[in-house]
């Protein structure tokens, strides 16, 4: 039993790394663009699908497959922005109006993309062909760890760390945080806001696509609704974290990841499946600014 719990802890942590990667992009977009981008899930799905189909076409080494996923996610994010968010930014709405309108347009974009993905895959789960990546299992005493799990976790943690460094310490990140604080002030100090918005969206789309690729390798397959299923978990993680805290994202992701794996051993089925939503409910009611969030007013 102890071994089982330990093994599930391990699996949960690997999952958590991926959740963090996915939630990261969503959180940055929310912070900077003030958009709860429901279409973020589709960057994940399309990135993964593009990678799988590239893998099935055969002949591409893993780095090329990876690049295809990243570019697909990034470009798709830009397309969604051009159709759904950019026209709204040009309208200079009030903050509340913009948040609601962009939520709805992103919902529209997401609906379209999920449906297109379902057609693309004929509503079937597709899986990475075996040639692209060979799975090896390593044993550590009673515990089993596959090379996929190790690579996925390390890649996810590394990308999270890089994102944290970029947002906190680079010139780009400083501009980004300025933009998140006030678009007008950012313009006044000479930041090219539109370029920065686009760059952010491309990067976040690429992050989501990477998460999609990694999780597909980890889980073995992907379908049109994989991203959407992850979306609610990601929202729960962001809510749990409070905005602007990458440490919070990690903690939130670990809680959900463990809840999903270790939870299967202890929690009844009803609670198990409702866990993300219960987390959203409880956290928002008890502590609206999240576990690690600062006060509601400042959101960077």
């Amino acid at each position: 039993m102890t071994n089982l719990i330990l093994q599930q802890c391990l699996n949960g942590l690997v999952l958590a790394c991926n959740y963090t990667l996915f939630a990261l992009g969503l959180s940055v977009i929310w912070g900077v663009l003030k958009v709860l981008n429901l279409a973020h899930a589709e960057m994940f799905t399309f990135g993964a699908l593009a990678a799988v189909f590239a893998g099935q076409a055969g002949g591409f080494p893993l780095p090329v497959v990876f690049a295809i996923a990243v570019v697909t996610g990034g470009v798709l994010a830009l397309i969604v922005d051009t159709i759904a968010f950019w026209p709204l930014r040009m309208k200079s709405l009030s903050v509340e109006d913009f948040e609601l309108s962009s939520l709805i347009t992103s919902l529209g974009a997401s609906t379209i993309l999920v449906s297109l993905a379902a057609r693309w895959t004929n509503n079937q789960a597709v899986s990475m062909p075996p040639g692209v990546f060979t799975v090896e299992a390593w044993r550590f005493g009673p515990l089993v760890l596959t090379n996929v799990q190790v690579i996925v976790s390390i890649a996810a943690l590394l990308l999270t760390a890089v994102t944290w460094w970029v947002v906190r310490h680079s010139q780009f990140g400083r501009a980004l945080r300025g933009l998140a604080y006030s678009t007008d002030m950012a313009k006044v100090v000479g930041i090219r806001t539109e370029t920065l918005y686009r760059a952010t969206l491309f990067a976040c789309g690429a992050l989501a696509a990477t998460a999609g690729l990694l999780l597909t390798i980890l889980m073995g397959s992907v379908d049109a609704h994989s991203g959407a299923n992850l979306m609610l978990k990601a929202i729960a993680i962001i809510v749990l974290a409070g905005s602007g805290s990458i440490l919070g994202l990690l903690v939130g992701a670990v809680i959900l990841g463990l809840g999903e794996t270790v939870g299967t051993l202890f929690l009844p089925n009803v609670i198990q499946s409702a866990l993300p939503f219960l987390v959203i409910l409880v956290v928002l009611l008890a502590r609206p600014s999240g576990l690690f969030g600062r006060s509601e007013a400042v959101r960077t």
Binding site: G108, L232, V270, I280
Partner: protein
């Protein structure tokens, strides 16, 4: 009138009620998706009443409505602490918790749902329920009460400064919306003959949002127009049924970007244009507004 049209009209009426319930929340500044949850509860009450509780349809309806009236305001309570998108998320969580509870409980038939709900819903009943719901919405959004409601929706702080008890208003809307939505769910179960968890999930949430936005935010008339438009469209344009989701999504984006007031706004503008010219000349400010 063919059977197909009768069925479609019934569905229009049922969705109109849920859309009205959602609309009311948006009008008073509490963007709540909870009505979809209440619709599920109403539908399951109909199914459980017929198969487990062994009570008549009317008693089951009364139970559902009573629960909705009592607990509707409770689900609305969080709006006191959180607002905007965060509140929408809480209400979405409520919907999904209900969905996942009914899909995992033995008692509610699990993922398979419950079959054998008596097909008691017919067009006159739906029309009567819709009229009642519309009357309730009209009552809430007329006169001083209606102005207070819209003020709360535009800017809660200003409304409070003007002496509107925003929170009490929102609780009242929570109760009325829950009752209307539960009734629509009850009718839906009686229309379709069975209930299962997939009927009341995220896709229905999307569907109802599309109806409210396309019809027009800010008036219950818009909710009815939107619900009828979205429900009937696949019937009128056959090829569209296959591409329904793509079309819904595109419609959603197009309306938000090009026609923020929805179909109601478009109808109003058309009516104004149709007016004789002197009236427009008397009000130049209006003409300006139109040209924008």
């Amino acid at each position: 009138m063919g059977a197909e049209w009768t069925a479609t009209l019934m569905l229009c009426g049922i969705y109109s009620m849920t859309a009205i319930a959602t609309q009311l929340g948006m009008m008073c500044g509490a963007f709540s998706l909870a009505p979809i949850g209440w619709m599920a509860i109403g539908a399951y009450a109909a199914a459980l009443g017929a198969t487990r509780w062994m009570v008549g349809g009317f008693e089951a309806l009364l139970i559902a409505l009573a629960v909705a009236a009592l607990l509707g305001p409770v689900v609305m309570l969080p709006v006191r602490r959180i607002s905007g998108l965060y509140f929408a998320l809480v209400s979405l969580a409520f919907v999904l918790v209900i969905q996942s509870v009914v899909s995992h409980l033995e008692y509610t038939g699990g993922a398979l749902g419950i079959f054998g709900v008596p097909l008691d819903t017919d067009l006159p009943v739906v029309v009567a329920a819709l009229v009642l719901s519309a009357a309730a919405a009209a009552f809430l959004s007329s006169g001083r009460r209606g102005r207070a409601l819209r003020a709360a929706g535009q800017d809660a702080i200003v409304a409070q400064a003007m002496g509107v008890d925003v929170f009490r208003l929102q609780l009242a809307v929570g109760a009325v919306g829950a009752v209307i939505a539960a009734a629509s769910g009850f009718l839906y179960a009686g229309y379709i003959g069975y209930v299962d968890p997939t009927q009341f999930g995220f896709s229905l949430v999307v569907q109802i949002i599309v109806m409210v936005i396309v019809g027009g935010r800010g008036s219950w008339v818009g909710a009815i127009i939107g619900a009828c438009f979205i429900t009937m469209l696949p019937l009128v344009l056959r090829p569209l049924a296959e591409w329904r989701d793509v079309f819904n999504g595109a419609l959603l984006i197009a309306v938000v970007l090009l026609l923020p007031g929805g179909l109601v706004e478009m109808a109003k503008l058309t009516l104004r244009r149709a007016r004789p010219a002197p009236a427009a000349a008397l009000r130049p400010s209006l003409a300006n507004e139109e040209s924008r």
